[in-house]
Symmetry: D2
Subunit: 343 residues, 4 copies
Amino acid sequence: MLTAWVIGAAGYAGGELVRLLLSHPETSIAGLMEARFIGQPFYEIYPHLRDLVLLPLSEYDPDKLTNADIIFAALPHGKSLEVVRDFVANDLRVVDLSADFRFSDRSAYEKWYGTHTASHLLKQAIYGLPELNRDKISRAKLVANPGCYPTGALLALIPPLKASVVELTSIIVNAVSGISGAGRSVNESLMFCEVNEGVRPYAICSHRHMPEIEMIASSVAGRDVQVSFVPHIAPMNRGILSTVYFDLTQEMEEDEVRQIYLDHYRDEPFIRVLPPGVHPSTKNVLGTNYCDLSITGDRGRRAVVVTAIDNLGKGAAGQAVQNMNLMFDLREDLGLDLPPVFP
Amino acid sequence: MLTAWVIGAAGYAGGELVRLLLSHPETSIAGLMEARFIGQPFYEIYPHLRDLVLLPLSEYDPDKLTNADIIFAALPHGKSLEVVRDFVANDLRVVDLSADFRFSDRSAYEKWYGTHTASHLLKQAIYGLPELNRDKISRAKLVANPGCYPTGALLALIPPLKASVVELTSIIVNAVSGISGAGRSVNESLMFCEVNEGVRPYAICSHRHMPEIEMIASSVAGRDVQVSFVPHIAPMNRGILSTVYFDLTQEMEEDEVRQIYLDHYRDEPFIRVLPPGVHPSTKNVLGTNYCDLSITGDRGRRAVVVTAIDNLGKGAAGQAVQNMNLMFDLREDLGLDLPPVFP
Amino acid sequence: MLTAWVIGAAGYAGGELVRLLLSHPETSIAGLMEARFIGQPFYEIYPHLRDLVLLPLSEYDPDKLTNADIIFAALPHGKSLEVVRDFVANDLRVVDLSADFRFSDRSAYEKWYGTHTASHLLKQAIYGLPELNRDKISRAKLVANPGCYPTGALLALIPPLKASVVELTSIIVNAVSGISGAGRSVNESLMFCEVNEGVRPYAICSHRHMPEIEMIASSVAGRDVQVSFVPHIAPMNRGILSTVYFDLTQEMEEDEVRQIYLDHYRDEPFIRVLPPGVHPSTKNVLGTNYCDLSITGDRGRRAVVVTAIDNLGKGAAGQAVQNMNLMFDLREDLGLDLPPVFP
Amino acid sequence: MLTAWVIGAAGYAGGELVRLLLSHPETSIAGLMEARFIGQPFYEIYPHLRDLVLLPLSEYDPDKLTNADIIFAALPHGKSLEVVRDFVANDLRVVDLSADFRFSDRSAYEKWYGTHTASHLLKQAIYGLPELNRDKISRAKLVANPGCYPTGALLALIPPLKASVVELTSIIVNAVSGISGAGRSVNESLMFCEVNEGVRPYAICSHRHMPEIEMIASSVAGRDVQVSFVPHIAPMNRGILSTVYFDLTQEMEEDEVRQIYLDHYRDEPFIRVLPPGVHPSTKNVLGTNYCDLSITGDRGRRAVVVTAIDNLGKGAAGQAVQNMNLMFDLREDLGLDLPPVFP
């Protein structure tokens, strides 16, 4: 039984981690740390977990963590690197859900996020996308859990990039997210009436997940890749639908493109490549670690690949648990085999 | 390992049964019968279950059921009694989710639903509300799973009725349901645009669940009870919130009333009696078998008791699995301990 | 052409006032005052009004108001009484959307809202429900616009109270509101993900609109009336559905009860009494000043009367404009004849 | 006063036409024809219009139309051409909301829609996008109202195509629509629970609006233009957000691209070009004929242009009324100056 801690448990990703760890047969939640609500039972801020979680939120205290098997850090960027630095110094194993250790290059991080005071760890941190880095993750001490948008985008981009069929200047990622992607903290523009009954884009080609997508895509392609990334929000709680467009380097039938994905993802437990004419919906992955994916060709010269994930599942807490499973040599889908809730 | 069959698997209650049975450690789904979609894989009509359920929908065929440990009948009323009759004749154990065996009295059934052609079974069928009939259910062959609205209403009414503190002519049940309560079949008035952004009542004091509530409430009270029942729909997928009003036979403090519930539900695994000032939300029970419940007094002479359930959970499939657990002497919450999904 | 000012224009009621006044053929908006966003164009905080409203938000300044024909005060209670006092002193005409002048009795106000420092005006303020006080409103200087919940409840209660058919101890008002009822200011518990996909009650029998309903109902009945009032929120932007229950003093057919309403509201421009079997939906009044109303009997001894209003329309800004029309002897529905938006 | 008829009044576009014509100062609705609900008052199928529209739905009868000033045909494609043929033969003026007269080329129509039996009219029909064809519309007998998606896409594409700054092989239109775009007829996949809490694409690069976009874009560009068009649905009633991507033929600053739009749309009453950093939301145009539009550059080589319209407004009924205004030399925004409803 692994003892797990969640640092920053009050946010939505923290709450989802608690939900998943509760159902996980090989972990027990040792404690929940937070900067707010200290001393309150967790179920008071997450009343759906009444009777299920009796632990209170406690103040951050590294001394309590010395025997932790696994620490999930679900803190804002900039905060995370300060505590993760200590964990690594104490040889603890960490899955960090912030952006702080996703960039291999300090300057790239600092351009988008601010000063990095633990950049010596960037080299050893592993980008926690199991479909890309499974082996490295299984040996890692520090896993940087990918961003929600990058997860949905990269799972669409990696197979054709590896197969060298993507015109590298042509990539467009149009993503639509549910509102929980913005976290649980108060934000006037995300009040119910402000977002209900509307769809809108934001941070067009200037979202911090754009350089993250470009960095990983470039490393997969072995060459510089630019991606035009436009996030949108839609009035739903969870889910990211990424509609990814790229020109093909040569004329290809839709089936040929699909075969690249079928081959690439043949053994993946969480990628469901859909048959011709069937497309993903965020509803179908709600509450799970699945990524549903469809491929459509446009007149032989362009492909449209659509992925659907749960932003709190495969886009955050689910993937974090998947990474933990890999780090501890557990079955990769342990605790993640909950059927989706529908409708 | 119990072999379970679901008859009428394509509806929402059927889909939820499949979801719950998939996670249940002591059952395996032997087959899924339906009148429609015969031969299609179940995941084609419930794409969220792709890779998780490989079974097709098959035509109704009683010969296949002879070795079934448990049959869940999720058919429309009138259809159900025809097949259940056969099951009982063959000594099979059944949880029937229709209204066909909820009424002990044939004429009451026929007044609201139409001719009953298996009324000889009404006596032996047990009304499957475990909080009321736990022992009888555990010995039953045929369990009539309660209606969704009656479940939410009766869990609010039973304790004070038993304690004889309810003015019997004063009971009002105001219920608000999510849209899945109407089932998966096509209904023009339940198209997205027709219900989104609106709340409305229907079948005011004329819904078929009203006599069901009155029958059970009367039997608990030992006297005739009339209930004014008004269902409403609200734009959400799941959940029933029942706001139940009744006058007290004597002046009582809110705490005294609450104590009746605390005492009555002390050992119930699925009833969460909330502390003063905390009220239920359907969100907090989504995807579960919980019933959250709060008690508020109004100036000593009236009580307002609010319950929240998931209409597909405690209001249908969850309660059906709870009943199965009792019938087979399994831990009552086996397979039902999934934490709710939030948000 | 009347020159109109809106004080507290940034809230939802303020925004709706601006929308309605824009379409009103006999008013022109002279200015918009606010405590926040001063100097910003109004369309920056309400981008749907870009090109339609060019006015900025300006600081509160009574000197600018000396020539105002009509002032709409859409301020929080406690703030409103301070400015309204000045308006009245300067002989200006005001529709106040706060609770500050709704209570004729100072102690009733102070029990629920805090100290009242302009209580000398309580006598002259007219409770602005045109269906009750049309004549007084037409002569008033200071109109206290009713609360949103009281409007929906009282329109159901006034006719049978006047007809003396209501058992006065039996009244229950179960109301479900859209989220805009809580205003535009930031509130963690009203973030999209916190309310979407859930229905819940709040302030059970302790909401400040309960004494307001009781005060007016009592004055109509000529005797003390107690009302159990339970507000709920549902995931929609606008609308209040009030389901009102009361016992009849004598056995009556549904048609007899309905006739009371048909007679009482025969000449009302904004009350639509629905035929038997047709019930209100908040969708059908969205964006309007209508109140839809249905009557259903329960076995001769109880009536269930349902009203639907738009909380920002008849529940706030629409009724405020209706009151203004009366005060200035304009056609009562001037500027309020916009057809509802559906779906 | 123009006498207007609506043929096919029961659908959502028909309902919106009725709403708009009701508020239009220069038209009166002479009659409403339908294939269903004949003899029923219109307000029974659109209860929000109770008291506002007293007309019944009547059977299609061309004899009644001989004196019509303007006919709005809101019929399914294939049906429309049959009746419109008669109208034109009788020298009546028509705005046709179907696809039947949008294509100048019969074979293009027949490839996507089926046999065209009135193709002799294709030449004289004018594509009713006022921002493109204002003069022709003002002289037209038969106006083919554009599709909802083409309206949103073309308003983003026309200015840069005219300015010859678009790399013609690079255009991508990613559109997200509310559910009313699918019309009011029953469709299992658009039941509330099937679409709520989910976003999904459909008809990827195979939607019938794709050739319509390509045809008009090609005619504007003077060369063949291919567009990859991917429609999606989101859980909201109304609105289309189109996110349009194209490569620039030469490196350009964002401001230069925006200036093309500002110049092109300078005098347009319904196009609101937003300032830098402000983006459209479908909420801000709800219930109106506006198209909000923003321009963003991506590193000098690509532009992202976003438009928001109400699919029933500028995407259907609003634009139809705008076309009528042009055809009868009325002020172009007459009856269309209703402020949007928010929230």
